[in-house]
Amino acid sequence: MAGFTVENVSKVYDGDLPTVSLQHINLEVRDGEFLCILGPSGCGKSTLLELLAGLQLPTEGEIRLDGAKVQGPSRSSGVVFQDASLYPWRTISQNVGLGLELGGMRKAERQALVDKYLSMVGLQGFGSKYPHHLSGGMRQRAGIARALVSSPNILLMDEPFGAVDHLTRLQLQNDLLRIWQEERKTVVFVTHDVSEAVFLADRVVLLSPRPGRIHHIFDVSQERPRKREDARLLKIQNDIYSAIYDVKTEADLEFTI
């Protein structure tokens, strides 16, 4: 059991000009589902993910994880960052084992788990390399392994494949789905790529531009494995594109008025 309840959450960043990043978000993240959060740049996707991760606290409203209020980071969520954020001074193995090390697990015990997850993400044999020896896609894999190794129930991913080339990206998506099915985790996945969202998700949450609000939630009930060129997926994609277009014109109107 691992799911979030987001209740009437708003986030305002203080400053000379306070920024309303998220406004009145109500959302249920169900146990075991793959949820994608989609939205234009600056609409508060990262903010929402960090709120779920407990890295930030909402200004208003409440987030509950399995009924308990989220008040800080917890070991039941693993986070994957956009740029992998590996520590350049640690080898890949040491990076992947970071969570276990900080949790006080002994080295010998760590190694077996680290190796297991390195091969799960296809990085067997690269454990003793440093991050700068790896390609962008491989670094991203290492970032995923680092999140998985502490066996969190939930995986929170912030545009994890944003910085890799298109073909690598497709491969990483397939691998992620495989891992998700093997490990049965709840995944919240931020992206601004519509086809990526539709290919991966059970549900796609579309946020509107600043301040971020939930514009619409799309159900993608297609069986897996999915085909990228599946007509029904493409139909949903088109629906999302036209919804984005609607949102855009509304925003433009607001500007002109």
Partner: protein
């Protein structure tokens, strides 16, 4: 292709050595023919003879030891002190904001100007030189430590937070390693100035040390010996920097070199 590169390298090396020998030869000739007085420029052969003599009668070891000891203690204290103060100022809330003006004011003082005052307070023994070396090194190391810590990437800190790292773990496993390159840059920079500090102090007021015998040699117009000491000091300085580079590459920053 590779063989050719290696060959070129050898050629360059041979050329450089050759040129050096030619220059030394010309100097030797100029002095031998008394075109230039040996008072101003000693013959290279004479400098070598002086070097051997210095090491031969053993006296030099004591002076070398004194200078190195002054440097090592002063530099060590500055390294630990700079690291500790730099960390404290950044990691303790408000500390930097509060102490910033004091730090800036102290840093602005040209350190050489207080060397005579230090002699007044501490005498002209080893404590005097240690404190000079310390003053010459401390601020650079402090400032570099602060800069390095502040450059810690936000995302690196978030990763630690997600894994519920304690404050101590965050400092030891994230902040310090990520600041290490900047801290080492400060350590390398101040090693050279630290040695200069020790020599300067000795030249100004002292009973022993390389700076002391250098001044003596010059005032006795023993130019050859002065040259020999300058050469020795240069070697020492290069060795110290090499030692720090080695520490950096093979102990602390293994990940950077490869």
């Amino acid at each position: 292709m590779k063989a050719r590169k290696a060959k070129n390298k050898k050629m360059i090396w041979a050329g450089q050595t050759g040129l050096l020998l030619v220059i030394l030869g010309i100097c030797e000739l100029l002095v031998r023919t008394e075109t230039i007085s040996s008072l101003y420029l000693p013959a290279p052969s004479q400098v070598f003879r002086e070097l051997f003599k210095l090491f031969g009668d053993g006296e030099i070891w004591r002076h070398l030891y004194v200078t190195l000891a002054e440097f090592a203690v002063g530099y060590g204290l500055a390294a630990f002190g700079g690291l500790a103060v730099g960390m404290a100022l950044v990691l303790i809330p408000w500390a930097e904001q509060f102490f910033r003006p004091y730090l800036s004011a102290l840093m602005a003082i040209p350190k050489v100007t207080i060397v005579p005052l230090l002699a007044l307070w501490l005498g002209i023994g080893i404590t005097h030189k240690i404190s000079i070396v310390f003053l010459f090194c401390f601020f650079t190391i402090t400032v570099n430590t602060m800069t390095g810590i502040k450059q810690t990437a936000d995302n690196h800190l978030k990763v630690a937070k997600v894994f519920e790292a304690t404050r101590y773990q965050t400092i030891m496993k994230v902040i310090l390693p990520s600041a290490a390159p900047t801290i080492f840059a400060g350590l390398r920079l101040s090693a050279a100035t630290g040695l200069v500090g020790a020599l300067f102090g000795e030249m100004l007021a002292s009973k022993d040390g390389l700076g002391n015998i250098l001044v003596k040699a010059t005032s006795l117009y023993n130019t050859a010996q002065a040259f020999a000491i300058v050469a020795l000091v240069t070697v020492v300085s290069v060795l110290i920097i090499a030692l720090i580079d080695w520490l950096e590459r093979s102990v602390f920053l293994k990940w950077k070199s490869s």
